[in-house]
């Protein structure tokens, strides 16, 4: 599904927020000129900048339900107010201001949600993501164990096993190959690798297989 303009800007905001809240300044290794404020601006640019710089305060406040909600609203309102002032002063066009606000709202919501305590009943991110083939090997091992213990349907187990093997193979692909598969998957049913016309060397397949067997102690 193509990304909308709003989603794109929101994603930009989230990426910036992630950098800012880690306090990762772009000045450690490469000399950079001092941050320049566009000419003719004054406090309103500072107000705008402060909203971004203070996202770590939002992260802190978000750990408390009431304070977090209030902080989220305060930050987004403050950012909007600073933009409105800049628009009124003719320093930013209304269209650009709206885009900036979308990016900031995406960033602020991301920071808030990532830090807010979970409510009852509803599951909340972050969800599990396997980090390495070792994780996948552990899944495969448990699958075999539980298949025996729970007398699982062999066909279902085979499909689950195939999915794990596919994930291991996936991790062996290049970024370009992964992109091609994702595009194809959006078009239709997930196709077999053989039908994608990818050049996956036999050695890569063999390496994936060896890795599975190795980590399952089958070698």
């Amino acid at each position: 599904m193509p990304m909308t303009r709003r989603e794109f800007l929101s994603a930009i905001g989230v990426a910036l927020a992630s950098l800012l809240t880690s306090r990762c300044l772009p000045s450690c290794y490469t000399p950079v000129p001092p941050a320049m404020t566009p000419t003719g601006q004054g406090d309103d640019w500072d107000r705008l900048r402060r909203c971004w710089w203070d996202l770590d305060l939002l992260a802190r406040d978000a750990r408390d339900l009431e304070k977090g909600q209030q902080a989220l609203q305060k930050f987004t309102a403050e950012h909007r107010a600073a933009l409105d002032a800049l628009v009124a002063a003719g320093q930013v066009s209304p269209e650009v201001a709206d885009d900036l606000q979308v990016a900031f709202e995406g960033a602020a919501y991301h920071v808030w949600r990532a830090n807010a305590p979970i409510t009852c009943y509803i599951i909340a991110p972050p969800l599990y993501e396997f980090q390495s083939n070792v994780d996948l090997a552990q899944q495969a091992e448990l699958l075999e164990e539980m298949a025996k213990k729970g007398a699982l349907d062999p066909d279902t187990v085979a499909r689950a096993r195939a999915a794990i093997e596919r994930d291991i193979a996936w991790r062996s692909l290049t970024a370009e190959e992964q992109e091609a598969i994702l595009e194809a998957a959006q078009q239709a049913k997930y196709p077999p690798l053989e039908e994608l016309g990818l050049e996956i060397p036999a050695s890569a397949r063999e390496a994936a297989r060896i890795l599975v067997e190795l980590l399952l102690k089958q070698r």
């Binding site: 909600q69 539980m146 729970g150 499909r159 997930y190």
Partner: protein, 344 residues
Amino acid sequence: MGRVFLPTLIVEVTRACNHVCRYCYNFWTHPDAAGTPNPPERPGDLRSLLAHVLEQVDCTHITLTGGEPLLRDDLHEVVSFLASHHLRINLITNGHLLTEARVADLIRRGVTLFELPLLSFRREVHDALCGTRGAFDAVLSALADIRTYRGQAVIAFVATRQNIADLYDTLKLAFAFGARGVMLNRFNPGGRGAVYLEELLPTLEQMTEALEMAEAAAKEFGLPIFCSIPIQPCLIDLAHYPHLTSGFCAAGSERAYYTLDTAGNVRPCNHTPTVLGNIWQETFEEIMASERLAEFVAARPAFCDPCEWRDECQGGCKAAAQVCYGDLRAEEPFLRANRHCARR
């Protein structure tokens, strides 16, 4: 008309269900609710309703539930409609109707997260709790398909006396099938579940053991485990389980999960039968400001008054107290059964 921001909205797309789960919390499955009319479920009406709601509500997630949502013939159209509004869509389903083709279609249309029950690693235990043969195999088959089509799934384990000892192996099974998280819900009686209160409600000791198993599994597999039904801190100190997450009733807060049925009735959550208002007659903003909601939020058992956690915990699940004992201020079943153990 003012817009309101809600992280999540729950939509009960149907009351019909193909399972007869003994632990069911849907209030309309309670024997006392027998004979009450179901909201209309005409195709097209639901999309009109959702469009009307989305004019008033900014939300990022919609959770589709039931009953069994897959019994709706137009579910795929509803999903497409919501996806066109750039919403993240969670689907709560028992998985019995999740064929491979349907999994692929729903993921393609925009379902971002499936939530399926997995009540044991043993077929007979899962099927008995669901009151339906084949339920266990259907869930595992659906999980395999969801992974194959690169979807995401979490599983819900409802902890009852009949399955709680199976928790650790069930978590292993969930992990092996690619679950991205687990909702460890202590049995929260409501609906049909209230009928089986005595035989399903876990003891405090059982629940404590379950949390220890869950803590170990979360640590071992890195699997996020959410204690989704509030656990009273006076009964169990959740600080002992740092790898688990938990929360309390969010009704009335901006993070509440307001629940909408097909007639447009809005409730504070999906466990309570309390209707706050109807979206065709009032705005969402008005409904959220209603006295009915204020009463719901304020309700708390008198037993909790001296407790330092009373404002956060609120006594646990007031909706369960309401369905089981007819009073939002009653002590809900888990608290009532264990009040003598409460740390004060």
